[in-house]
Subunit: 219 residues, 4 copies
């Protein structure tokens, strides 16, 4: 099973719906509708400027009904993130060319996600600002998602290692963590306009290079 084929998140996707009764399906459909409505509104107006009342109306339900399906507004941001960023990362993992060198593979990955977020600056900003500090209800979702794509990143690194593109001994999960941290710091600068896109690319390039070159077997 390739990296991108692994199920993303048990709670929001890949449910075996044939096993569910009609009630459960309806319930799930409704949650999906709500999250979809929320995501659209967050993209349009930003997280803070979107009210839960608007989301409910857009989802065609009452204001209170929303809270039968959602714990809090933050919860909706987490779900939006899991969907949006999930798509981006899954696509990114599919793009990886395992015959390329490690730096290229990682750059392909990170730049794809970067571009995805760049198309949704507003939402991306909310993600980077709010998600690290969500309260308990949403935290699990964020962590599950983070673990998922960090594992994916580690898988890419493992594959690269197997292909002789990367040192065999380096702990791949921790290396993935480091690369993610580096990328995240630059992303935060990007979405807060402290860095323009081109500089971001250059810096990310160098940052990844610095992290990997000494770990890359020389021909």
């Amino acid at each position: 099973m390739s990296v991108a084929d692994r199920p993303l998140l048990s709670s929001d996707a890949a449910l075996d719906e044939t096993e569910l009764g009609r009630r459960e399906r309806n319930k799930l459909d409704k949650r999906r509708r709500i999250v979809a409505a929320a995501t659209a509104l967050f993209q349009e107006k930003g997280f803070e400027d979107t009210t839960t009342a608007e989301i409910a109306k857009a989802a065609g339900i009452g204001a209170g009904t929303l809270y039968l399906y959602v714990e809090s507004k933050e919860d909706l941001l987490v779900s939006a993130f899991v969907n949006v960023a999930g798509d981006a990362w899954r696509e990114a993992f599919d793009l990886v060319d395992s015959s390329a060198d490690a730096v290229s593979q990682i750059m392909t990955l990170l730049m794809h996600v970067t571009d995805h977020h760049r198309a949704d600056r507003r939402l991306a900003r909310s993600f980077f600002k709010e998600l690290p500090f969500v309260s308990d209800s949403g935290r699990a979702g964020v962590e599950e998602f983070t673990d998922w794509f960090l594992s994916g990143l580690a898988s890419v690194l493992n594959a690269a290692s197997a292909n002789g593109k990367l040192d065999a001994d380096v702990p791949k999960m921790m290396l993935a963590h480091n690369l993610y941290a580096q990328w995240q710091l630059l992303m935060r600068r990007l979405v807060t306009d402290r860095l323009d896109y081109d500089d971001m690319v250059l810096q990310l390039q160098e940052s990844v290079y610095v992290a990997l070159w000494a770990l890359t077997p020389k021909a």
Copy 2:
């Protein structure tokens, strides 16, 4: 000039006071009193739970007067940060033993700052949550400070390189950036209780090791 002796920040310290008239000194003193009051209150009650009115009262001035010395409440957080984190980093730079291996040197640095922040969880949380997203008035201060300690970090790395503890060719500034990103990600987990202190230490240890071991010349 050693790393720690370099001037910290032009705006809040190391002003050439002989050049200043009495008026400017008074103005500066008052700002310092305000920042001191704000810092104390932020530590006590957190950034969000402290009102500018309280700060003004604690500083012995009127609510409006505050804004003659300060651009915004965020501004005060930035100044508090520059003071508090500045102390931590300066001390940390002094602790570095240039005869140790690179990993140890970096760990000494980062752990000292970590411990400093750990003593002020509340304030540290505000730093990590708010500072990356401060609006224009405070942004410059944060960036200046970040540049300062990143330069310090790079200096440590350069010295290590000069001592044969670190590969000579690696771009030190970017390596410093990477290490900082790695540390920051773990710090954010620490101050949001997603990581306990002991695990943080272990993970930071491995994270730094992964970043540096391949760059460390073998005996």
Copy 3:
């Protein structure tokens, strides 16, 4: 028939169950279960902080089912009151020593109920705050109960009168009403922490004394 043996309330107790079919008994049992669950929760968390959903769950029924047995949440408070306060008053009536002087008899009564309520401050507070203003569905229950214990109080006064402990001509029902009013005002102060228990006792003592001494035949 002594005061305490008189039936309490037709609606919640003393039903001639031999006349009831199984269905009615079941219905009544279920209502009792619901009221018991509600009472326990009200004691634990207070009336306002208890939701009807919690009560339903605690009673082992669905949220909607509750309303087949109960008119409203207030209704449950009334029933809880009738049970809890009913016990207190019945016990109190049993404690009365008809050979004592009138003031002592009344004090015995009122203090017993006071102590009962004191053990359940939270619930008592809800009683005194909400019950005088319940809407129609619960009102009848409250009034029936009030009439019941006022009659009991009047009976005690009548007995005292018969024993020469109290003036024969005073309208006993109205005197009961007055004593109740006096006690209630002090109780409201007690449960809102405007009066501590010891002061309450002293004031009630004097209040009752003032109401009765001129009506007490001198030896």
Copy 4:
């Protein structure tokens, strides 16, 4: 100094305004305007159905400005009460004919206040429902007021006693408390429609009579 001439409450009335500077007068005027606006709205729409925003608008100030002069919405109810009920009680004290018998004097007093409240059923209901349970900010005001009119009531009783209309030995303050409690209980029934006005009068009459007749020296 007669009962009715004593200053009502230091905080809301009878301030020696010649001693106040313009700023203080303005501040006080504004509070008065706010309380007046609130009182009018409470009378019109009831306490609960009046929003603080409406009050602010009616007073010609911003929503937040309200809270520079008032601690809470409850606070406004307390002030409205002190004004409205204060007027009623002061007038009532003036109506007392000290040559009448004690029962008549008390009835004159209580009926005057009763009638006053009856003209403002809605507001009176809020008074009786909310005031006994106001939180700390308003509590002091209510207690100060209660003490004031209880003292007035006691003064009336003392005067009656001096005029030979009432037993000399009975503790007047406690008797006042008892009479107030009796009246209050009936008032609560009146404003909750459990008692119509005529019955209220009759019951109050008997209630007062029961409380006083044995204390009234026989000719």
